[in-house]
Structure formats: structure tokens, C-alpha cells
């Protein structure tokens, strides 16, 4: 997938490197500039699962959007596998999933999963095989020919996750992908996600505002504070590193300890206030 002239993907490089990045919205015309991110540093190693957690307006979604090159930083630099976010985006280095599934309603489940492959010129047979495999992975093999409006919200989200994995990216960006789901579906999908990640060895940047979710999924939890958006603390979790997690982990003592630690970090900063700007 590498075109000449671009720096090649460096597999030894960190998946994501964020160096003193700031993002300021609204240059003066309105009530004054809003500092969404202020001098943020973060490194995500290849294959590492990192969650961003924090109150609304702490800039966690903004940070994810900057890495995805859906937005540009006001200051600082970001690299994805050693290249600029734009190069990474054009080279299809990452897969992405949002809070809404965002499936194309006129495409079948299969065709939705095949979409990124088709856009990048993968052959028909290979596309089909990939989609088949991924749908099996998310447990929707029987629904390949259904349309999105025939699926429940949780199923749609699973299709979106399958789509994010379609190109076997070594980096996955997820912006509250389970945010709109009920608790039971959510926990089941969390287990599925850790299983798929363990299989594909992809690095994940995962935005959430659920403490249990962050702890259950992550190797490291990045706790952020709002106004200005800063990294408050980074909590090492690493429950059964690298391996797929099971639901029994949720009763584990280490799990509860980590939850407590993240909660303390969240409340240790400035008391959570209601803030106006939320960027999803």
C-alpha cells in the first residue's frame, strides 16, 4: 500500500506519537478561544490498547480526530507509524469507528464491511473472503445479506467494528463505539473487541467515558481533565496483557483496584464541571 516518495511504515515506530499538541477552537470572534487541548504528549506503542477517559470537553475526541487527520492541531506534532497523520490516512494505516455505526443504509451488511476494501481497489474475491471472515468474527455471518435497518443497534455497531478491521489496520481509532448501547450488549462487545484485538495485534486508541469499560479493555488508561484539555494521569492496567479477556475478569480484585485508581485520578484533578464544548 506504500507509494513511492512517502516514508514507509516503520513497524518499529510507535503506533501514535503525540508531541506537545494543542488545539484551540474559535479564534476570538465568539466568546473567546476555547483551548480543547493544551500541550498534550502521548505515545501509543504498536499493539497497545490505550483508552482516553475524562469529563465532557476534556478534548479526548479532539485528540482522536487529530490522530485520524479529521482535524489539524494548532501547535505540536503527531506521527502515526512514523509518518504524518495525513500520510497515514491516505495510506489507510488506521481503521475507525464512531459512536454511531454510520453504515450506508443502501448497502447490505456484507457490502458495508467491504466498503473500505472496495474504495482501495481490493479484488472482488478477496473482498468477499475478508468480509465473510470479519462477519464471522463479530458473530454476524448469518446477517451478511441483511440491510442495516433490519439490525438492532448493537448489531449495527458490530458491523461498524468489522468494517473498521476490514483492512487489517495496525491501528484502530474508536470514538465511544459502545456509547449508545445498553449495558449488556456493551459488555458482550467489549469481550469481542479484546478477542479481535488479541487476534489482529492492532494498537487501539479508544475514547470512552465509562471507567469500567476503560479498565476492562486497556493496557493503559489516559485520564484527562477539561479546560484546558490536559492529560491528568496515565494509569497502567495491563490485566492479562495481550490475551483475550473474559467476563470473569470483571470480578477480579486487580480489576476493582484499577477502577478505583482511575476513579481517583478522575476526581483528583479539578472537580468535574459541566462544560459547553463537546466534540464527538
Amino acid at each position: 500500500m506504500t507509494t513511492p516518495g512517502e516514508p514507509p511504515t516503520d513497524q518499529r515506530a510507535a503506533a501514535v506519537e503525540v508531541r506537545s499538541v494543542s488545539r484551540v477552537f474559535g479564534s476570538g470572534r465568539q466568546a473567546g478561544p476555547v483551548v480543547a487541548l493544551d500541550e498534550v504528549d502521548l505515545t501509543v506503542a504498536a499493539g497497545e490498547f490505550v483508552s482516553l477517559i475524562g469529563p465532557s470537553g476534556c478534548g479526548k475526541s479532539t485528540l482522536l480526530r487529530l490522530v485520524a487527520d479529521l482535524d489539524t492541531p494548532t501547535a505540536g506534532s503527531i506521527t502515526v507509524f512514523g509518518r504524518s497523520p495525513e500520510q497515514a490516512r491516505l495510506a489507510h494505516d488506521y481503521g475507525i469507528a464512531f459512536q454511531q455505526a454510520g453504515l450506508l443504509p443502501w448497502r447490505t451488511v456484507r457490502a458495508n464491511v467491504e466498503l473500505p476494501l472496495g474504495l482501495h481497489g481490493t479484488g472482488r474475491a478477496e473482498r468477499r473472503a475478508r468480509a465473510e471472515h470479519l462477519l464471522e468474527l463479530v458473530g454476524l455471518a448469518d446477517f451478511a445479506d441483511h440491510f442495516p435497518d433490519q439490525l438492532s443497534g448493537g448489531m449495527q455497531q458490530r458491523v461498524a467494528i468489522a468494517r473498521a478491521f476490514a483492512e487489517e489496520p495496525s491501528l484502530l481509532l474508536m470514538d465511544e463505539p459502545f456509547g449508545a448501547l445498553d449495558e449488556m450488549t456493551r459488555e458482550r462487545l467489549q469481550v469481542e473487541l479484546t478477542r479481535i484485538c488479541a487476534q489482529t495485534r492492532a494498537a487501539v486508541v479508544f475514547v470512552t467515558h465509562s471507567i469500567p469499560e476503560a479498565v476492562f479493555l486497556s493496557d493503559r488508561v489516559v485520564v484527562m481533565s477539561a479546560r484546558p484539555g490536559r492529560i491528568q494521569q496515565v494509569v497502567d492496567v495491563r490485566l492479562g496483557a495481550g490475551a483475550a479477556r473474559e467476563d470473569t475478569l470483571r470480578q477480579d480484585g486487580a480489576y476493582f483496584d484499577a477502577v478505583t485508581e482511575v476513579r481517583a485520578a478522575l476526581h483528583g484533578g479539578e472537580p468535574a464541571r459541566v462544560v459547553g464544548v463537546e466534540n464527538r
Partner: protein
Amino acid sequence: MTATMIRWSRALRLPDAALGLLGLLGLALLWELYKALGPADGWSIGGTRVLPRTTDLAMPHTWDVLIRLGEPLTAAPGAPPLWVAVAQASLFSLGIALAGWAIGVVVGFALAVLMARVRVAENAVLPLVVLSQTVPLIALAPVVRSWGSRIQVAGVTWEAWMSVAVIASYLAFFPVAVGALRGLQSPETLHTELMRAYGTGWWTTLVRLRLPASVPYVLPALRLAAANAVVGTVVAEVSTGLPGGVGRMILEFANFASSDPARPWAPLMGAVALGLLVAGLVGALGLPLARYRRTEVPA
């Protein structure tokens, strides 16, 4: 109202076509009801007639019109039945209307894509598009005809029917331009950002996302354009004086209002049938596009 009728038709298991026929029958019934009960001289307020006269001259019986359709056009020997003459004229107009519709759809879509592509174009062109519809067709017809008559490209001479098609397209492009623009702009930020994340360019995004998303907006616009093209054709036939079509026939047959009262109604029915036929054809276009009318249920 419509919803109620649809529910009725479902309850009675009537196909849509039967429902349409029922509507026509209802209209005929209304006509006859007014003719039977309305005052013979109509009803006037201060010299202005607000309700028509109900004499056989002004309002022939529906069945008289139908019977007249089966009779010869003129008393001359060998004259074709009236319905054949009307059908021929309608088919002639149908061809022109379809040509006008096609031109209008292409131009309207091209404008919509341009406006969707360039923000400046939307601000500059959209007011002109709206303005264009305020120019009276009657004023436009002679201009188009005189310009057209001067065009002669590579042995193709401009024919009178082409002027009519152009005028019809002038009415047809408007709903397409507005509807398609709305449709092309309909994808959510979520979807456009997804396409951006896939590193796709504007044209690929147009083909894979914006065009499919525009279908639910474009189909009704195409229907409106079809109706407009028929109206435009009939009016332009009259104002450019093009013989052979149903528009000119309406004008000619109006002279027979007193001697042959059922005859002027025949080309009107032809025009109505023409409109229904064109709308039906365009409606059929939507059948293979059914999947594009699905909507995603929010998670």
C-alpha cells in the same frame, strides 16, 4: 386524506392502479353531480362568474365526451376516429416532453453537482435558478424559437419541435436542480468524515456516498420535472405555434365549442393521460432504486 385512502385500499386489498381508477371515477361523479345540481347559468358575483354554467354546451356529459371519442374526427369520408387523432397528437407531444425532461434532468443534475462541489457556485447560481422560474414561458417561447432558427451545426438544422423541447426543459430542470442539490448535501457529517478517513477524493465520495444518498430526494424531483415537462410542452406548442401536438389541438378544437361541445374536451383528456403516463414512467424508474430509499435506524 391520502393516508386514509391507502389504508382503505390495503383493507380492501386493492392494487394501486385500482385506487387511481377509483379516483378518476370519483372525479367524473363530481362533474356529473355538479352538472345535475348546479344552476344552469352558473353563479356570478358582480359580473364575475365563479361557478361555470352547467348547460350541455359548457359541460357536456362525461359519457358524451367518451362517445364522441369513438366517432370520426370530421364528417369527411375516411376521417379517423377522434380518439386516434388525439392519441397521435399525444404521442407526438410525449416524444417532445420526454426529450425536454431528459435535457432538464441532465442540466438540473449538472447544476446540482456544480453547486454541491463549489460553495461559491451555490451562492451565485441558486438565486439565478430560482429567478429563472419567474420568467413567463410566453415571453420566453418566441426568443427560443428565433434563436433556435439561427442555429445550424454540422448539417443538423434546428427544428421547431426542438424549441418546444428546450422550453419544456426550462421548466423541468428546476425541481431537479433544487432536489438533487438537497440530496447531494444530505449525507451526515459522520458519513463524510468516514469517507475522508478512507482517504477518498471528492468524485469517489460523490459516486459512493452523495449520489446514492440523493436518491430519495431526486425521485420526487424527477416526477415534478415530468409534470413540468408536459405542461411546458403543451404551453410551448401553443405559443410557438407548433402543429401536430396536443397543445395545438386544444387551441384548434376550442373553435368547435358551440357546434361540437364534446370535442374540445378530447385533447384535454389526451393531455391528462399524457401527464399520467409520463409520471408513471418516471415512477417506474424508482422501482430498481428501492434500496436507496432505506434509512438507517439510529442505534
